[in-house]
Every structure is written in structure tokens, then in C-alpha cells.
């Protein structure tokens, strides 16, 4: 905040006494002036220290042989033992592959549909109709993940609606939820079903902001709809596409475990067990805190490294424009 009276004060002080106010005095004055602002910051800072920074310190449990009686600090160090155990465990390659596959396929399949939807909606001339369509297409976003997965189980069960159609054609049902081969497709397609409308909002808003003179000029030049989309709409969308891509690529290791966990059945574990659901099971269900904290930490480190790499590559490809 520009505190004009303060500045005037300082100037008059300078003029009258000729004393040059040192940087430190200035800072001190500003700290005094802004004392209430720092008080306002306190609740947020304290909560962040307790619930974000304490756990970061607590993550050293991953390098310790955790003993609940001793607590985190006093437990003996074991170095990288837990990480070695994880990397050489028979589960490791399955967990890593499952995690990577589900998010890379999800990114590849899920990236374009919202963009296409936004371009499609942009061709609907009547604003009223467009808004009604958006109202419907955004709705699934507000359905909770428990209900979505509940619906998946209902629709895909042996006597559910999908299988009653399949049984009519082939004579026998497909056990979607217990066949590991279907897990990823179900996970990703239902995600697109739920998110396509909502993820398109930013693109839609960007297209709405495109200067209509551009379209008119293109029209005069005899460009058809597809050419207008290619030469006007897509370039307008490009910056947001880049940002969205970096953000999703940087989140590759953060698969939505809330949904994956709910979709797991004892039969589909070979494809549905991902690192984050494994952390939950080992840590909170089996109580092996230290080992599962190490697995979680491993996951996070890879994620941060990926974010940095993807951001770097995109910067190079996109003329120095990254995040």
C-alpha cells in the first residue's frame, strides 16, 4: 500500500534535518506501519507450518526405522534402506507401470476432447442454446467420485444394463470390474465422461474472447469453417493448451487415487494398484509407516523432476514460454 502521509513525512524529515534515512530505518517504519498486516497473515502461516511443513519434516521417517514409542526424531536412521526395499521389491515394476500407464494414457486420450468440445460449441450460433448445452455438459463434474464409481459398478455388473445388451448379442456377460484388462479403459473413459464439459470451460471462454473482426476478415477472404478453426481458433487456444499440458504432464505421478481406490476389486489389482493406493494400504492399513512414507516420497520426487523436465522441454519448443 502506498502510504502517502508516511512518504511525505519522510520527505519533510529529509528536507529539514538533512539526515539521510537509512534503509534499515525505512524498513523498520514499514514493519511498524504494517503490523496489522502481519497479524492477519498469522493464522494462514501457522496452519501451513503445522499441516504442511511439519509433515515435510516428518517425511524423514522414510529414512528411519520408525518406532512409535520413540517418535520420529529419536528413531534410528536406516538411510536409503526403505527405498532400496521398494525398488527391489517384486511389486515395484507393476506399481510404476500401472501408475505411468494410467496417467499417460489418460493425458493422451483426455487432452483433446475438451478442446474439440469447446470448438464445437463455439460453432453453435445461438447463445441461449449454447448456455443450455453447457449447463448439461458441466453437470457430471459435480457428481461425487463415490457416486461415479457406484454407477460404474451398477452399469457394468453382470446383470447391469450394459451386460444385458452384451448378453443379448454374445450370449455371455463381460465381467468388466473384475477383469484387469478393462480397468484402465473404464477409469479413463469415465473420467472423460465426467470431466469433458468442465475442462472445456477455459477453452470456451478463450474462444468467446476472439475478436470477431478476425472471423469477418477470414470470411471475406473466402475461408471456410474448417480453415477459420485452423487459422484463428487453434492459435488463440494455443497458450492455454500449453499450460494445461505442462500442468497435466507434471502431475503424471499424481493419479487420482480416490477414484482408483474405489474402483479396485480383488480381481483387478494387477492393473489397478498404483503407487498412491499402495502407500495407503501399506501405511495406514498394515501400519508400516516408514516404508510407505518412503514410497510416497519416491513418488513425489519423481513428480517434481517430471514437472521441471516437461516445463523445460515446453519452454524450448514454445519459444521460451513455459509456466
Amino acid at each position: 500500500m502506498e502510504n502517502s502521509s508516511e512518504i511525505q513525512n519522510q520527505q519533510s524529515l529529509k528536507a529539514t534535518s538533512g539526515v539521510r534515512i537509512s534503509k534499515w530505518t525505512k524498513t523498520k517504519n514499514r514493519l511498524k506501519r504494517d503490523k496489522w498486516l502481519y497479524v492477519l497473515l498469522l493464522p494462514g502461516v501457522i496452519l501451513t507450518i503445522i499441516f504442511k511443513y511439519f509433515p515435510m519434516y516428518g517425511a524423514i521417517i522414510a529414512f528411519k526405522d520408525y518406532n512409535p514409542m520413540l517418535g520420529i526424531t529419536a528413531s534410528p536412521w536406516v538411510g536409503l534402506q526403505h527405498f532400496k526395499d521398494f525398488i527391489f521389491s517384486p511389486n515395484f515394476s507393476m506399481l510404476l507401470t500401472n501408475t505411468l500407464k494410467i496417467s499417460i494414457y489418460g493425458l493422451l486420450l483426455g487432452f483433446l476432447p475438451p478442446i474439440i468440445l469447446a470448438i464445437s460449441l463455439n460453432q453453435i450460433i445461438s447463445k441461449k442454446i449454447r448456455q443450455k448445452l453447457q449447463l448439461i455438459l458441466y453437470a457430471p463434474n459435480f457428481i461425487s467420485v463415490v457416486i461415479i464409481v457406484g454407477m460404474l459398478f451398477l452399469f457394468l455388473s453382470a446383470n447391469g444394463p450394459i451386460n444385458s445388451l452384451i448378453t443379448k448379442i454374445t450370449g455371455h456377460p463381460i465381467l468388466f470390474m473384475s477383469n484387469p484388462g478393462y480397468f484402465r479403459s473404464i477409469y479413463i473413459l469415465s473420467g472423460i465422461w465426467q470431466g469433458i464439459g468442465w475442462s472445456s470451460i477455459l477453452y470456451t471462454a478463450t474462444l468467446a474472447g476472439v475478436n470477431s473482426d478476425l472471423y469477418e476478415a477470414a470470411n471475406l477472404d473466402g475461408a471456410n469453417i474448417l480453415q477459420r478453426i485452423w487459422h484463428i481458433d487453434l492459435p488463440a487456444l494455443r497458450p492455454i493448451m500449453v499450460i494445461n499440458f505442462i500442468l497435466s504432464a507434471g502431475n503424471i505421478m499424481n493419479v487420482g487415487y480416490e477414484k482408483a481406490f474405489l474402483m479396485q476389486t480383488s480381481m483387478n489389482i494387477p492393473t489397478s494398484e498404483i503407487i498412491s493406493t499402495y502407500v495407503y494400504k501399506i501405511g495406514l492399513q498394515s501400519g508400516d509407516y516408514a516404508y510407505s512414507a518412503a514410497v510416497g516420497l519416491f513418488n513425489m520426487v519423481i513428480n517434481v523432476v517430471l514437472l521441471v523436465i516437461v516445463n523445460g522441454i515446453t519452454k524450448k519448443l514454445n519459444d521460451g514460454e513455459g509456466l
Binding site: 511439519f54 517425511a59 460449441l121 461425487s144 463415490v146 470470411n219 512414507a293
Partner: protein, 295 residues
């Protein structure tokens, strides 16, 4: 766009486009309509034939059975409480934090901002966070859902951007009149920031209403369970309460009833959001758009 002329080719493309969108809309609403119809079916018909449009196959049995048990209502009340208190707290903390950070000449502003932003990318992880909450004695208390997530850095950035967009003259004038920063925030800035507070409140509310994972980890007492955990028991773990199924029910019938109850449960629990959603939709859109113009 209406100034444009459309060639035959353009019109054909637009027709194809309308078909694509109609298809998408159908795909979106058919599952939802199916659930609603299925929730009114007779259990035996539902499991043997699926839904039917013959009114003689329709019953309200599913709903009567769901309400025969108190768990849904209790979960509903719990969720209402958690969502309201959480949203209130998170909006309050967000505004308190965002206002000082919107002051360009605050000493240490960049360091404090970094202090918050880092937590968006780096964290202790599930287990260390759990241990802290356990050590604080928050397990099996509502606090575990309300307090730990109250600082949302993304919201703080949004609110800070919003404050930056408000005219500076207002707070300058108030300073000259002798108001301190607390008075300026609560008497001048917050009333002006009502729109963004409303948007943040809605987002927080829906997020908390729809979440189940933290409650699953932190709350073991069934009396504290939010709606989503009750739903999980019924929909995913196939454990509807005995009151819903009814005593002395044959095995085969139990299975049919359990199936029907799932559909009715989905409708009952989604109804409040679906009814309110059209009124709030423009605010949700606004939230996303404000978020995109980040400072």
C-alpha cells in the same frame, strides 16, 4: 459471428457438428436418466429385465427402504456441518492471508508468498500428515476434516489477484482518515470482495461435500461419517444396513433389494446439488475464469 455468410460446405460441417454435440449431450444425460428410472423400479423387474416403462413395474420401495435407516440422513447432516464449517474457515483464512499479500510494498512479501507456493508442489505425503493429525489428537474428531485443508494456496492467489483489481484510492482515503489495516480489510475490502468470497465458498463446499478419502482415514466412528462414506458402504462395499434390507428376507430377494437401494441412494444423495446447480453454475464458471487470469 452472425455477420458471416455460410457456404454449402460450411452448412454441412455445422450439421455434422450439431450431430456430434447432440450425441455428447445424450451420452451425458442417458446414464443419469437411467439411474432415476431404475430407482423407481420393482426390485425383481430391475434385476431380471432392467428398467421398464410400464407404470405397473414402478414402485417407491427403494426410497422407503433407504429412509427406513437413519444412516443416510445422519451422513447428510454430518456432511452439511463439515462442509459449512470447512468452507467458512477456508474462506476466512484465504481472505486474511490474501489481503496482506496483495500489498506490493509489504516487507517480506515475496518470501511469504514462496512459503505458501512451495506447499503446492512439495509436501510430506500421506503418512507424515496422518501422523501429525494423530499426534494433535484430531483423529475421530470433526477437526480432522475442517482444519488441515483450510489453507488453500490456489484460493489465496485468486483472492490476492482480486484485491489487486480493487481501486487503491479507497484504502488510501481510509488510511488518511486514520483507519488501520484491520478496519480497512473488514469494513471496506471484504464487502467489496463478496463475489469472490461467494465463489470460493461454493468451491470449498462442493469439494468437501463430495470428498470421502480424508474422512475414511481420520474418522472411524460411524456416527461421525459424512454422507460420502455412508454412500461408499452402500454402493461400493455392498453393505446396506439391515434396516434397509429388512429382516427375514430371502437371499435372492436381498440381492435384488440391495441393487434397487443403490439406485435410490444415488438419486437421494445427488438431489440437493443437482437442484441447486443451475442457480450456481454461473458462479462456478466465474471461479474458473478468475483463476485463469492469475497474477
Amino acid at each position: 459471428m452472425d455477420m458471416q455468410t455460410y457456404t454449402k460446405f460450411d452448412k454441412r460441417i455445422m450439421r455434422v457438428n450439431r450431430i456430434i454435440i447432440a450425441f455428447l449431450v445424450l451420452i451425458t444425460i442417458i446414464p443419469l436418466i437411467y439411474v432415476v428410472i431404475a430407482s423407481f423400479m420393482d426390485p425383481a423387474t430391475l434385476i431380471n429385465k432392467g428398467i421398464s416403462f410400464n407404470p405397473r413395474d414402478w414402485t417407491t420401495q427403494g426410497y422407503r427402504r433407504v429412509f427406513a435407516d437413519s444412516s443416510i440422513l445422519r451422513g447428510f447432516m454430518n456432511s452439511l456441518f463439515y462442509s459449512f464449517t470447512f468452507s467458512f474457515l477456508t474462506v476466512l483464512v484465504t481472505m486474511l492471508t490474501a489481503y496482506p499479500l496483495s500489498k506490493k510494498d509489504l516487507v517480506g512479501r515475496n518470501v511469504i508468498t514462496m512459503f505458501f507456493v512451495i506447499t503446492m508442489f512439495v509436501g510430506g505425503g500421506l503418512i507424515p500428515t496422518y501422523l501429525i493429525i494423530k499426534d494433535l489428537g484430531m483423529l475421530d474428531t470433526p477437526w480432522a476434516l475442517i482444519v488441515p485443508g483450510a489453507v488453500n494456496v490456489w484460493n489465496i492467489i485468486l483472492a490476492r489477484t482480486y484485491f489487486n483489481g480493487l481501486p487503491k484510492e479507497l484504502s488510501e482515503a481510509a488510511t488518511i482518515d486514520g483507519a488501520n489495516d484491520l478496519q480497512i480489510l473488514f469494513k471496506i475490502m471484504l464487502p467489496l470482495a463478496k463475489p469472490i468470497m461467494f465463489v470460493l465458498f461454493l468451491y470449498a463446499f462442493v469439494g468437501q461435500w463430495n470428498a470421502y478419502f480424508d474422512a475414511m482415514i481420520y474418522l472411524k466412528n460411524p456416527d461421525l461419517q459424512p454422507l460420502q462414506l455412508v454412500l461408499r458402504n452402500i454402493l461400493i462395499q455392498n453393505q446396506p444396513s439391515q434396516d434397509m434390507i429388512g429382516a427375514n428376507t430371502a437371499m435372492a430377494e436381498m440381492k435384488q433389494i440391495a441393487e434397487l437401494i443403490k439406485y435410490s441412494t444415488i438419486v437421494i444423495s445427488s438431489l440437493p446439488l443437482i437442484v441447486m446447480y443451475p442457480f450456481f453454475q454461473k458462479y462456478f464458471d466465474k471461479g474458473i475464469l478468475v483463476g485463469s487470469i492469475k497474477g
